[in-house]
């Protein structure tokens, strides 16, 4: 019985991990076809030499960085506010942003920006992508930070206040240092979801703000391509490392 369960679990793990592993293996294939013909780094060279990929990757990094800084600050403050006093409204809205279908978030933001941009001189671009990413990352940050706050001893901050520290000092000088690992973990996850997003981004991106997932999507749409296998392997490995780091920090 126990062995059968272990075998079943192994099969489900294989289902979860083998597809990406196969993709990674074939990214080192010297042939363009799905037949192994020998090890090569050709597709990595080709990907590195592709200016469109490089530009999109740079855009994604910039957008990811800016939106992470904003959503981590806003999300951490929100988590702190929720920890001090429950708010069904704020918690419910954050929860809803997590579960709203991406396409609905995407088109609603598109319509909103179009409505706003009747004012001449405004248009879609990096800033609209950042705004969209901040909107959906705040909830991820709040969930991670709040989980950590719940394990925290609230009396530490009270002690600071008894000694005369104003509440904001209690927050910045006692609570924040104590939950710093969770904040960093949350920031890494916020960066991951930002770097990853295609559906919402594609609706609100302008001509100058094409992100890496948008380029990946366009290539995938035209059919599989070994260069894409190489890019995918790099992205998945890099994001995997971030998630691993984030997980470590959360457990610290």
């Amino acid at each position: 019985m126990k062995r059968a369960l272990g075998l079943y679990a192994a099969c489900v793990y294989a289902f979860l991990h083998v597809p990406l592993a196969v993709l990674a293996v074939f990214s080192f294939n010297s042939s363009r076809f799905t037949r192994w013909e020998g090890f090569s780094l050709n597709w990595y060279r080709a990907a590195a030499a592709n200016p469109q990929l490089a530009e999109a990757a740079w855009n994604s990094l910039v957008i990811g960085f800016v939106s992470t800084v904003i959503s981590t600050s806003v999300g951490t403050l929100a988590a702190y506010g929720l920890w001090k006093r429950r708010s069904r409204f704020l918690a419910g809205s954050l929860y809803l942003t997590l579960l709203t279908p991406e396409i609905v978030t995407g088109v609603s933001l598109l319509v909103f920006f179009q409505w706003l941009f009747r004012v001449p001189g405004l248009q879609l671009g990096m800033h609209t992508v950042v705004a969209a990413h901040v909107t959906f990352s705040i909830a991820f940050v709040a969930v991670v930070v709040l989980a950590r706050l719940r394990t925290l001893d609230a009396t530490l901050e009270e002690a600071a206040m008894d000694l005369g520290a104003p509440p904001w000092q209690g927050f910045f000088r006692v609570t924040v240092p104590l939950i710093r690992p969770a904040i960093v973990a949350a920031a890494l996850l916020a960066f991951t979801v930002s770097f990853d997003d295609y559906v919402i981004t594609s609706m609100v991106a302008g001509v100058d703000s094409e992100t890496l997932p948008m380029v990946i999507y366009a290539i995938a749409r035209r059919g599989a391509n070994p260069e894409l296998n190489a890019v995918s392997t790099i992205v998945v490995t890099a994001l995997g490392a971030l998630v691993l780091l984030s997980e470590r920090l959360r457990q610290a």
Binding site: F15, L16, F33, A91, V134
Partner: protein, 275 residues
């Protein structure tokens, strides 16, 4: 003002401007008439919602519900034993759980692309089967409902495993010992104790999988290849190629209404909150 109340304001402001206001505009647009060059015009109308009952669009909605339901059921079948296994694996529990969480965070787009790579006519499965001589022509594995369901199960399985693991982990094991002392065989104590006690986890997992499956855009787009259209693709088409914003807005709101109904239904049954 108190500092702790001030802390909520940035998040409330962002959500009000970038989440609530856009939804409000969508709601208003869904009641307007399609403009001559895209956009919207007066008069106010309910036509966009009435159009949803058109067999063509109604069928897409029903198909989406059906595909989401099948994917959820498959996630339960794959996820329950896995969650059970993890909850019973002692010190390696965290590692096993991490192996489930990892794909959840890694790129959804790339994970979907990986299946395109495996399933297409010149993909790995067909290449291997052809080389073995088991088939003469590539099997049409991609661009059908089965491929979409496969992609959805692959994508959202972690959402099923996590809540199931949480309930199974919290379960009072002494109940099983008591059952065993009273002569119950393992299978019977599973059926009469473990399974009923894990219903909250099953419900949470089912909702967490069903909602993203119902609203999935990328999976039907890439693995269904336009032949297996779901609600999200219908929304996207209305806002791009068809340029019928009011109808797209009505479909979006309908989708949102289904999601909210499911969530409220679930929230009533469980007292636990994520936030």
């Amino acid at each position: 003002m108190r500092f702790e109340r001030l802390c909520r304001w940035p998040a409330l402001a962002v959500l009000a401007v970038l989440f609530v206001a856009p939804m409000g505009i969508i709601a208003a647009y869904s009641l307007l008439t399609r403009g001559a060059y895209g956009g919207v015009e007066l008069p106010w109308t309910l036509d966009n919602y009435i159009r949803l009952c058109d067999p063509l669009y109604g069928a897409i909605l029903l198909r989406s519900l059906w595909i989401a339901a099948v994917s959820t059921a498959l996630c339960l079948i794959l996820g329950y034993p896995l969650a059970f296994f993890i909850s019973r694996s002692g010190r390696r529990k965290h590692f096993y759980l991490f192996l489930v969480i990892l794909p959840f965070w890694s790129s959804f787009l790339i994970r979907t692309y990986a299946w395109m790579f495996l399933l297409r006519d010149t993909g790995l499965f067909n290449t291997v089967l052809l080389a073995l001589g088991w088939i003469r022509e590539p099997l049409p594995l991609l661009y059908n409902d089965a491929a979409v369901i496969l992609g959805l199960v692959y994508g959202f399985l972690p959402f099923m495993v996590l809540p199931l693991f949480a309930t199974l982990e919290r379960m009072d094991r002494t109940l099983l010992e008591a059952a065993a002392d009273l002569g119950a065989r393992p299978l019977e104590s599973f059926r009469r104790i473990t399974l009923p006690l894990s219903f909250p986890g099953i419900r949470a997992g089912a909702i967490l999988v069903f909602i993203p499956c119902l609203g999935a855009y990328l999976t039907p787009d890439l693995l269904g290849g336009g032949k297996s259209v779901m609600v999200a693709n219908l929304v996207q088409t209305q806002f791009t190629a068809a340029r019928d914003w009011p109808f797209g807005a009505a479909v979006s709101l309908t989708l949102m209404a289904i999601v909210m109904l499911l969530l409220f239904g679930a929230a009533k049954k469980s007292s636990e909150d994520l936030l």
